[in-house]
Amino acid sequence: MSSVNLTNYFHSSLFIPEMKATTKDEALEELLNLFVREKLVKNKRLVLAMLKQREKLGSTGIGKGVAIPHGRTTAAGDVMIAFGKSSKGIPFDAIDQQPVHLLFMVIAHPQEKSNEYLPLLGSLVTTLKDDSKREQLMHVANFEDLLAVFQGE
């Protein structure tokens, strides 16, 4: 899983050093708004519906303060990751019932060719299992800090 260079999928415009959201729905919308603002997705309502339905399939709060809301959508033309941090923590129905502090929203296009979506998700999960990486992420203040955490992965 370490073959995916995650830094290629982050962008400075898809970065929130301190999220305002206090609920799961607000968090999904706050992160999705970044994609909408950058015109990376076409129809916010459709993509938000997809993300909420994905949460019904099973929470993307994978525990230890991490959530990776994700999904493929026909309303996107690329694969990108938005990152947001919440020092206070956001209730997210995570598997360990703990609030989440580190949120990575992965939005992908529906194509089969050059399928990068599942390896990317796997790589993200693997990296975030590392206690020291999560600790570093809790202290990122700017986009460069974020990239530094994932460099060399």
């Binding site: 076409k42 459709l46 519906a49 997809m50 099973g58 529906p110 089969e112 599942l118 999960v125």
Partner: protein, 111 residues
């Protein structure tokens, strides 16, 4: 204003992709428990789509895996063929459903 039926087809495909990949995503470490609920939501949505369009979607999906594809910069992201400029102008308006002349997939302009 987007074509309502096209919007429903896009949503249907998003749900189908999610259902198809639930097992793969579970293997990555995500908890998956609501597959039946998702399938029920899919059925409910499919029932709202006109039969001819739904059949077309199912037929394309069976043959090409992705029945609807995004179009970006006039390029069909299913087969990567450039769409005629005139089609792009109408496609962006979203009043009707266009099909890629090369691969036959339904097109969804995202820019």
């Amino acid at each position: 204003m987007e074509n309502k039926e096209l919007e429903m087809i896009v949503h249907l495909q998003d749900l189908d992709l999610m259902i198809d990949e639930a097992h793969d995503v579970e293997k990555l470490g995500f908890a998956i428990s609501g597959c039946e609920e998702l399938k029920a939501a899919r059925q409910e949505l499919a029932a709202k789509i006109s039969k001819p369009l739904l059949y077309r979607y199912e037929r394309l999906r069976g043959k090409l895996k992705r029945a609807v594809v995004p179009v970006k910069n006039d390029i069909c992201l299913g087969c990567f063929l450039r769409q005629p400029t005139a089609v792009g102008a109408q496609g962006r308006e979203g009043n009707e459903i266009f099909v890629c002349e090369n691969c036959g997939r339904m097109l969804y302009w995202i820019d």
